[in-house]
Amino acid sequence: MPSHDVTLEWINGPTRTVAVDADETVLQATERAGGTLPYGCRTGACGTCVGRLLEVDGVTKADDRTGDGRAVDVDDAFTYRRAPRALKPRHQDDGYVLLCIASPRADCRVAVGSQVQSELVDNPWK
């Protein structure tokens, strides 16, 4: 069974690398390994499990020299089991990924934890 290493980085917190099989989601693999990530619906509708992609196969966002801002493209790193309905196109362009329905196709690093969720929207009146 091919698997990929997904390194989960909590903002201001620990880092943990999980080997995720091609047929399981990052959330499932993390739980199998005895770890936890925030989640809610587990169907891609609520955004609670969201992570932000930092690096795919050794290429980080900071390495982006192509000018199209897509050096770290979610499509290069993950396949989805079903549509990521909790993410808007702007979120997907910015590298956000729903870990309850995403399986990796490459080794990658992802920022995780509830703080990533709170980046999705801000206070519109402020």
Binding site: G13, G40, C41, C46, G47, S114, K126
Partner: protein
């Protein structure tokens, strides 16, 4: 597992049926609830960890409200859910006064849905201070009916239970209603699918054969957080649906317009003959009165809260009245303006012309009182609950985890509080009880959010009369 076979002494239930000559749970009339009930001595309150990095499930807290008790204002027990990620939100009883004459039924089981998970839990409160989880309906069983995101729970006559469901199995529209039987098994969909698109809260008046439901949005829209773009795209609701209660069909849809954006809590007057009720429109910060006239329902804006300028905000801040309730005697309407930090009461003796009675400025972004007993308040008043005699108003401060994080990010670090005001129904006044504080920031696993409040003997937001 049915309540019909269980026996429980009158003293234990705290409600003596011999007094008013009927069998079954609840009180014969709203007036009987006021007169025969004793002061609330404990509350069940939703406690949440969903969406935080605290690796714990959500829970139902048992809060001691007996001023003579040594553990007054403390969480004396917590019923933990079996899984994380639920976002416990609203809950309800297996039976209420609408089942008053159904012999053998007891108001004993709490139906506790997970908003995010779609998991539905059943808690047995036979031992009130030590309730226990007895049944779990897993999300996959719910998805089979192409529904998700359970919200409001009301018992309906004959021991059945009805839940408003905000999304389809994918978290998109349309929502609908799920019915459970008295063994807490899914009976099926209550309505023919496709009657409505959006759903939120509902209230029914069986003697009038009517139900009114309101609208939030699709779970995939509101769950990640509030985005003005979604409002501009018409993804948030502004309609009320008037149902034929027996048929389960929509007879009329009322568009409240821009002044009625995000109509949330629906409250009929308690008097079972009444066709009057109110709904709070959270985003446009209005309250609408609805009533029947010449065989049709109508709705009219009767209360309007003005947005306020805040030195640190770029745009005027809406009040956001997120919860409303009607006192058991139908005289007062209470509510909470979550962003402004205000609980308010209006005299609704004439429902078409509510008169402001009093308000309390506490918490939120504008509240005059920003701490109680030295405890800083992290958010404004949100879910409200009133004692059956109308003399004590309680509230908690969390709205919805992702929305909390946008408007009150400190709440994740400090947790919610439960506060109380003393109400004088004769004078129409509210006074903050500075001696009362339940601090959900002090929970053993870390600060928790607190949401809806229920009393064991029925309350102003769950009882309906047949």
């Amino acid at each position: 597992m049915s309540d019909a076979n269980t026996n429980r002494s009158e003293s234990e239930s705290g409600h003596d049926h011999a007094d008013h000559h009927h069998a079954g749970p609840g009180y014969a009339t709203p007036q009987a609830a006021i007169e025969e009930s004793e002061r609330e001595t404990l509350a069940y309150v939703m406690g949440l960890y969903v969406g935080t990095d605290i690796d714990e499930p959500d829970f139902v807290a048992v809060v001691d409200l007996d001023p003579d008790s040594e553990t007054y204002c403390e969480i004396v027990d917590r019923v933990e859910m079996p899984a994380r990620g639920d976002e416990l939100h609203h809950f309800g009883w297996n039976a209420c006064s609408s089942s008053c004459h159904v012999e053998g039924l007891e108001r004993r089981h709490l139906i506790v849905p997970g908003q995010r998970s779609s998991r539905i839990h059943v808690i047995d409160t036979k031992d009130r201070r030590d309730p226990e989880l007895v049944e779990v309906i897993e999300p996959e069983e719910v998805f089979e009916y192409d529904l998700s995101a359970p919200h409001t729970v009301h018992c309906v006559p004959d021991g059945k239970i009805l839940l408003s469901m905000l999304g389809d199995a994918d978290g998109e529209l349309p929502g609908g209603f799920l019915e459970l039987n008295d063994d807490f098994e899914i009976e099926g969909r209550w309505e023919p699918p496709g009657e409505i698109e959006m759903n939120y809260d509902y209230w029914y008046q069986p003697r009038q054969n009517v139900m009114v439901s309101s609208e939030w949005a699709a779970p995939a829209t509101y769950q990640p957080g509030f985005d003005l773009e979604d409002v501009e795209d018409g993804k948030y609701g502004q309609q009320l649906h008037v149902w034929d209660w027996e048929e389960g069909t929509v007879e009329q849809t009322i568009d409240l317009g821009e002044e009625g954006l995000i109509p949330l809590e629906v409250r009929f007057l308690h008097t079972p003959e009444s066709t009057h009720g109110f709904v709070g429109a959270a985003l446009s910060s209005n309250v609408f009165h609805f009533w029947e006239e010449d065989g049709e329902y109508r709705a009219e804006k009767v209360i309007d809260f003005e947005a306020r300028e805040h030195p640190d905000w770029d745009m005027p801040v809406p009040a956001l009245p997120t919860d409303i309730l009607i006192s058991m005697d139908d005289r007062y309407l209470f509510g909470s303006n979550w962003l402004h930090g205000e609980v308010w009461m209006y005299d609704v003796s004439d429902p078409a012309n509510p008169q402001r009675a009093d308000s309390l400025s506490v918490g939120g972004h504008f509240g005059e009182v920003q701490e109680v007993q030295g405890r800083e308040l992290a958010a404004g008043p949100q879910m409200v609950q009133l004692s059956l005699d109308g003399e004590r108003l309680y509230w908690t401060t969390s709205l919805f985890s992702t929305w909390d994080d946008q408007f009150y990010p400190e709440e994740a670090e400090r947790g919610s509080v439960m506060l109380k005001a003393d109400v004088d129904p004769r004078k129409g006044t509210l006074e903050l009880d500075e001696d009362f504080l339940v601090d959900f920031g002090e929970c053993p696993a870390g600060p928790a959010r607190a949401h809806e409040i229920r009393w064991p003997d029925g309350d102003c937001t769950s009882d309906v009369w047949q």
